[in-house]
């Protein structure tokens, strides 16, 4: 086999993702856990780690873009199409799904690596439903029902959905490079500042370390696909770290190996699993976990499907949109990430109310009210 640009890009992507998988396993970085800690215990340390990852990724990605190294408008996040319906509906679905299946896309991969067969079931269902939503039968519904719920920003003379490009024209201010630098700097510093204002982040090595590493790995992904992999004759798509569509593509790649070519994103999926596996063996935490309850298995399967479908509709997961997308300062990524957080937090409160043997609707309204009414005292 002749090695080409994409093979080198994939190999470095695998190595980067290997580090990500090992660090996430070691530090317990988990976006669902971040919401759970906050909603269920009032602890913000892991949420701070997520904000820190965003802040580091914004700083790095914007520095690369504004210094002319990469053009983030080439990524899927900063196009002129703002798919509001998909971002909100898909984000909410993903948030519900990650709570039902015990973790988001990256967490699923990390757990597969450490021997969790429950997560292997989620991995397969997530991958299949993601692929069905991208190119299969669910894709028909996506095109017919969800895509019409999009805004074409180009029609309003907006050149991309970056924060500066959307907010400044609305305020009748001309978009200049100086203002772009200002936006990038302020967002990055505010996110990092909020993260470090949280005592549980500062006092916990795992929290601040994981936040910095996850953010840096996303920046590394932009460097690999945008600078190292830049080749006029053998181009690779500009992409960061993302886990939903790539999980579907990974399964497809394994099934059609002899006729397929590796990509950066597929290599990342395998790298995260491998990194987590090696760390769990070295730390002697590798152990086979299986389903022991019918209800738990049903929850995981529904959760996997909601993440697969929702993750494609929202163009990404808690890392794909919640760190990578945010690093491009795309308006859509902010909308998707907030939708995911809301879906996740509301599901936790619904599960709490369900323990009272309240009906589904009563629990649902109670859960929504708990999260969206800030002054409501939660039980």
């Amino acid at each position: 086999m002749e090695l080409t640009n994409i093979h080198y890009v994939a190999a470095i992507g695998f190595a980067l993702a290997f580090v990500f998988g090992a660090v996430v396993n070691k530090t317990n970085f988990c976006t669902m856990g971040a919401v759970s800690d906050w909603v269920n215990m009032g602890l913000k340390g892991r949420f701070g780690a997520w904000l820190l990852a965003m802040g580091v990724a914004v700083g790095g990605a914007q520095l690369l873009e504004l210094s002319g190294q990469i053009d983030l408008t080439e990524s899927i996040y900063r196009t002129t199409t703002l798919g509001l319906g998909g971002l909100i509906i898909g984000g909410l679905m993903f948030g519900v799904g990650m709570t039902l299946s015990g973790g988001c896309g990256q967490r699923t991969l990390v757990r597969v690596g450490s021997g969790n067969l429950k997560s292997l079931v989620v991995f397969i269902i997530l991958g299949l439903t993601a692929y069905m939503t991208l190119r299969g039968i669910i894709g028909v519904a996506r095109i017919e029902l969800i895509e019409p719920l999009s805004l074409d920003l180009a029609e309003q003379g907006i050149e991309d959905q970056g924060l500066a490009s959307t907010i400044l024209p609305w305020l009748n201010i001309e978009v200049t490079d100086g203002l772009r630098w200002a936006f990038a700097g302020v967002v990055s510093i505010v996110l990092i500042g909020i993260a470090f204002s949280i005592e549980e982040l500062r006092s916990n090595f795992d929290n601040w370390f994981s936040g910095i590493v996850v953010g840096a790995v996303v920046v590394g992904a932009w460097v690999i696909t945008g600078i190292f992999g830049y080749d006029d004759f053998d181009p690779v798509p500009l992409e960061g770290l993302s886990f939903v569509a790539p999980t579907g593509n990974s399964i497809s790649y394994l099934m059609t190996y002899t006729g397929s070519t590796i990509s950066f994103a597929i290599a990342v999926v395998f790298g995260v699993i491998a990194g987590s596996f090696v760390y769990s063996v070295i730390s002697r935490t590798f152990r086979i976990e299986t389903f022991s309850q019918r209800g738990d298995m049903i929850n995981h399967m529904i959760g996997g499907a909601l993440m697969g479908i929702g993750g494609v509709l929202s163009l990404g997961c808690t890392i794909g949109q919640g760190v990578t997308g945010i690093s491009t300062l795309a308006l859509g990524s902010i909308i998707a990430t907030i939708s995911i957080m809301l879906g996740c937090a509301i599901t936790m409160r619904v599960q709490y109310h369900r323990l009272d043997e309240r009906g589904v609707l009563s629990s649902l309204f109670g859960g929504i009210a708990d999260i969206v009414i800030p002054w409501r005292k939660m039980a």
Partner: protein
């Protein structure tokens, strides 16, 4: 030691992942009186750190955190 005679209520969360063990423990504690003891069994490895943090944050004392084979056992005293 997890002395069963001290325990006011037993909660079995085996087979469940984060966040369910914490959500169920929170619910169970709500129905107990201060000083009562809740014994929780779990199989989620992540529950070890979760229950340490939960006890510290909520003022319920974690009396002990034991591992027996693949099962984690916690005794929480309601504060």
């Amino acid at each position: 030691m997890s002395d069963a005679t001290d325990v006011t209520k037993e909660l079995d969360t085996t087979g469940l992942n984060c966040p369910m063990p914490i959500i169920r423990a929170k619910k169970a504690l709500k129905e107990l009186q201060p000083g009562d003891i809740l014994r929780v069994t779990a199989t989620d490895p992540g529950s070890v750190k979760d229950f340490e943090a939960f006890a510290k944050q909520t003022g319920n004392e974690l009396l002990d955190s034991l591992t027996e084979g693949d099962t984690f056992i916690y005794r929480l005293k309601k504060g």
